[in-house]
Symmetry: C2
Subunit: 374 residues, 2 copies
């Protein structure tokens, strides 16, 4: 029963990967107890420098890597951050994921990424999986909070970050994107060029952020005394396909707008595509403005004028917001809202509307084919 050196070798060990070295080998090799190894690894100041040296050397020699699972088990913290996006294939998100990951890793966290694909079943399973892997917190960057998702998460009472809107609960932080200012700048840019008939292709309207952008558009138009007729505001899906479909509906109108603003860049790229297919020239015949400023926007044909929402800022705020909720003495533990600025980036998909005086002058002054504002 109480055999000091058990003849029955442990069962699980045989199943483990060959390369794996445990804290015990290190302790043995350094001639100390496993507690000392643990302290050394965790940089507890009280360890004798000489012992610490021996421990580090042993670690080096055997190639020891602390087992995170075991650490998590005892500490109750996994040092993993959940990151939920709606669609990883939407180019905005990889950029966000990349920034988020860089920051998280720099702070010693790992990232558990998942995409909902707008599918409640999938989302449900995603949450469950994150809970089982006991992430320390979750950033929900879907830009459209699915209500029951929030519910599940909130119930478990752990640190959460949302974009745009979220319940006002102690563990929850919200990243407020300043859609108003960015959209306003876009509208004013178009108006300044002389556009009066500006259409807007929204995102899917079950998303709060899509609604927020549309509302910002309507408000910005009103501010300068303009009202878009109902048929000039069409619902899209935040995808290229949605942009194409939206533009086609606009094209079917008897009265074409002279400019189209889009709820995101992918939609704008779809619009560009639809316009190309129907041989309408951008920006000579119609101006196009996007939103997000994804990397691809500069490579659109023509390069897209757009409203930048810095995913660097967004990612930074998300990671900080999470840390604020997880680490008891984080400096911004009390901050509940984080403001994300936006700004206009003018490229070549916008110009004076056709037939206006500036456009005519411009045409007279330049070489034939390279239209557009430089």
């Amino acid at each position: 029963m109480a055999s000091p050196v058990s003849p029955t070798r442990n069962h699980a060990a045989d199943r483990r990967r060959p390369g794996a070295v445990s804290i015990r080998e290190v302790a043995q090799r350094a001639g100390v107890s496993i507690a000392t190894v643990s302290r050394t690894v965790n940089r507890i100041p009280s360890v004798n420098p000489e012992l610490a040296r021996r421990v580090w050397q042993a670690i080096d020699e055997v190639g020891y890597l602390p087992n995170t699972q075991a650490r998590a088990l005892v500490s109750g913290r996994s040092r993993m951050l959940g990151l939920i996006v709606s669609e990883i294939t939407n180019p905005f998100f990889p950029e966000l994921v990349q920034e988020f990951e860089n920051l998280a890793v720099a702070q010693g966290y790992e990232v558990f990424i998942g995409s909902t694909n707008y599918d409640p079943v999938r989302t449900e399973s995603l949450i469950r999986r994150m809970l089982q892997r006991s992430v320390d917190g979750v950033a929900v960057m879907t830009f459209g909070i699915e209500e029951d998702l929030v519910q599940k998460l909130v119930e478990r009472e752990f640190p959460l970050v949302f974009v745009d809107a979220g319940p006002d609960l102690p563990n929850i932080r919200v990243l407020k994107v300043d859609y108003g200012e960015g959209i306003r700048q876009g509208v004013q840019h178009l108006a300044a060029l002389g556009h009066r008939s500006i259409a807007f292709i929204t995102g899917p309207l079950y998303m709060r952020s899509a609604v927020a952008r549309r509302d910002a558009f309507v408000k910005s138009m009103a501010e300068i005394g303009l009202t878009a007729p109902a048929e000039h505001i069409v619902e899209g899906t935040h995808t290229m396909e949605g942009g194409i479909a939206g533009m086609e509906r606009l094209l079917a109108l008897t009265e074409l707008p002279t400019a189209v603003m889009c709820s995101n860049d992918m939609t704008a790229i779809g619009v560009l595509h639809a316009l190309f297919r129907t041989t309408h020239k951008v920006p000579e015949e119609i101006s196009v403005v996007g939103f997000d400023d994804i990397h691809l926007a500069q490579f659109a044909l023509p390069p897209l004028t757009t409203v930048q929402m810095s995913c660097k800022d967004l990612a930074a705020a998300a990671v900080e917001g999470l840390r604020a909720g997880i680490e008891p003495d984080h400096s911004r533990a009390a901050t509940k809202q984080w403001r994300i600025p936006t700004r206009l980036v003018v490229r070549q998909s916008t110009a004076f509307p056709r037939g206006t005086l500036p456009a005519l002058m411009q045409n007279a002054l330049r070489v034939p084919r390279s239209g557009g504002v430089k």
Copy 2:
């Protein structure tokens, strides 16, 4: 000392998230031992159905989720698969990641994604992090094996999947992409249209796959009696920026090629951009062919003719290859190589070269502006 009900409440428990319920609560509530709960959860057939029912009910009532960390610790398997890509922001990868994730999750695995960004330091840390989280296997989908990365991984002797090439070791599986056939079809498509002067913009040549694609191009050209002059093969970076730079070099040549083939779609999109900027028309003046067939390719202006490398196939093979190495009695445990087919997808960026008879006839027959092969 041996107090049956310890007055000292366990230390770690206080630190844990409130919502977390352990196997013990379930056992207590169902009036069974924790072993029975474990058996029930793991669907061991021998459990009494009546007890099982009570256990499931208790699980439901308390919202129990088995703790994966603890499971991993005892079983020696984490049910996590590492997935290493070079750049998550390159649109090819999110598509691959998505497929990979879907398949992995369907098999009960979680995915630990990491991108190397072509940075050895970052890569090193990535491997270490994956090892610490004890992933069960790693798929290296960088399309350019960094030698020391392989070394590190191979040392630990765990299941590995590479693309294109990898050491012939027991735990390693290789996904062989059939570049030859795809590139050949692209070249023959161009040649069939009448092109004789075809340039090629490669990927970064430290990548095996980039070299393989270039070699396939040279070989395919030779097969039909064509030889591209050295200045018609320029090195790119598999990015839009690289495509622009490459095309600019081509444009500086006294003798322009009539068609450009690219090592990937992003390069081709860059080429399209450069051509647009310099007011060259695609495909009327110059034809462009890509490689990969990312989703974006259909929305390029004009829609891109390209060689499809199915990331669905790739992802499926990667997951299966990993499972074959991890699960002792997987049906394809012995398979060491997996062939990934490629095929040509003709869209509108390719046409007869300018001035050839077919091109003239075509122009005579069609409405002014919408050139290209339909």
